[in-house]
Amino acid sequence: MSQLGKYPNSMQDDRLAEFTDQALAGRLNQTDADVDEELLALEETILRLKDAFPPAAALDQSTVKQMQVRFNARVRREAREVKQPFWKKWFKPQSHLQLGMAFAAAAFLITFAVFAPSMTTVGPSTSATALTPMKNTFVVIALAGVILIFLWIKRRK
């Protein structure tokens, strides 16, 4: 606490408090000429705050109503999102395109992993051996999956 001022600290406390009360009540718009430099600087700071954030400009009744409408809409929207199961959110049509692409890529890789061992390289050419019925079914399912995902992604666009 500074002792440099003209007044003892407690008097400065009271003077600044009184100045603040007057300024916020709109009864004062400039600093008090009859104070020391230190207090004057503090009064200026109060006025700067008051001018930068004018109390009257905060909110009027119509703005309050509009804000309440927007708030209620947000509450309803958030409540809907919370109620939705997590897996539905993942498959939400408007979003997660990248997730869909990742699924498609994963399905393709699985298909390739199943299909690749049945390919044999003989000399310069590649030939495929007949698949076992079990593998055959799996490949068909995987391919169907890839096609479905592809169609689903395309439909969303």
Binding site: M1, S2, N9, S10, Q12, D13, D14, L16, A17, T20, D21, L24, A41, L42, E44, T45, I46, R48, L49, K50, D51, A52, F53, P54, P55, A57, A58, L59, V64, M67, Q68, R70, F71, R74, V75, E78
Partner: protein, 184 residues
């Protein structure tokens, strides 16, 4: 309880409104919102960039809505709301730091609800907000109580459990610290 009239709701205390809300009366929350919106908004406006004031205010009231059922009434609702507001403001700045966004928004990015505010005023606001954010919490709090919420010194003394002289002294020290911050 459910069919309590609007005029009655407007007259009952915060505690009674909270009890109504806990009993399933959603109108009670609407009244709490109307009653406290202005003080929350004014406080947020002092410390949050203009573009985000409404968003942060909404988040505060959503947090109130979610946690009001656990409010035990150990403190006054206003005090609890103030603590929640400060928490949400701190969270706003934490998120900004994490996203590496500048803590102070450039003037060019500010748009929208700026009625009546000149560019100079907006620039001054940003400057003051930045200085306020750098103050110790107790200094910032007393400035917000007096200037943002427009509480009288005796009311602040009551809220903070201090005597009037100590409150005025803290206020002067807070303004001195702010002044020093602005001069840096």
């Amino acid at each position: 309880m459910e069919n309590i009239s609007k005029s009655v709701i407007q007259e009952i205390s915060d505690d009674a409104l909270i009890a109504e809300f806990k009993g399933g009366n959603e109108q009670a929350f609407d009244e709490l919102y109307r009653r406290h919106l202005l003080s929350v908004y004014k406080r947020v406006r002092y410390v949050i960039p203009e573009n985000d004031v409404e968003d942060v205010t909404q988040e505060i009231f959503i947090a109130v809505l979610k946690s009001l059922s656990t409010f035990r009434g150990d403190s006054q609702f206003g005090t609890w709301l103030r603590t929640l507001t400060n928490y949400k403001v701190a969270e706003f700045y934490r998120k900004r730091t994490r996203k590496r966004e500048p803590l102070v928004v450039p003037l060019s990015e500010i748009s929208g609800r700026m009625e009546g505010a000149t560019p100079k005023m907006l620039e001054e606001r940003i400057f003051l907000q930045s200085a306020l954010q750098k103050l110790p919490e107790n200094y910032r709090e007393i400035i917000l109580l007096r200037l943002a919420e427009d509480l009288q010194f005796n009311e602040i003394a009551e809220i903070t459990n201090q005597n009037l002289e100590a409150t005025k002294s803290l206020f002067r020290r807070a303004i001195t610290a702010l002044r020093n911050q602005l001069d840096e």
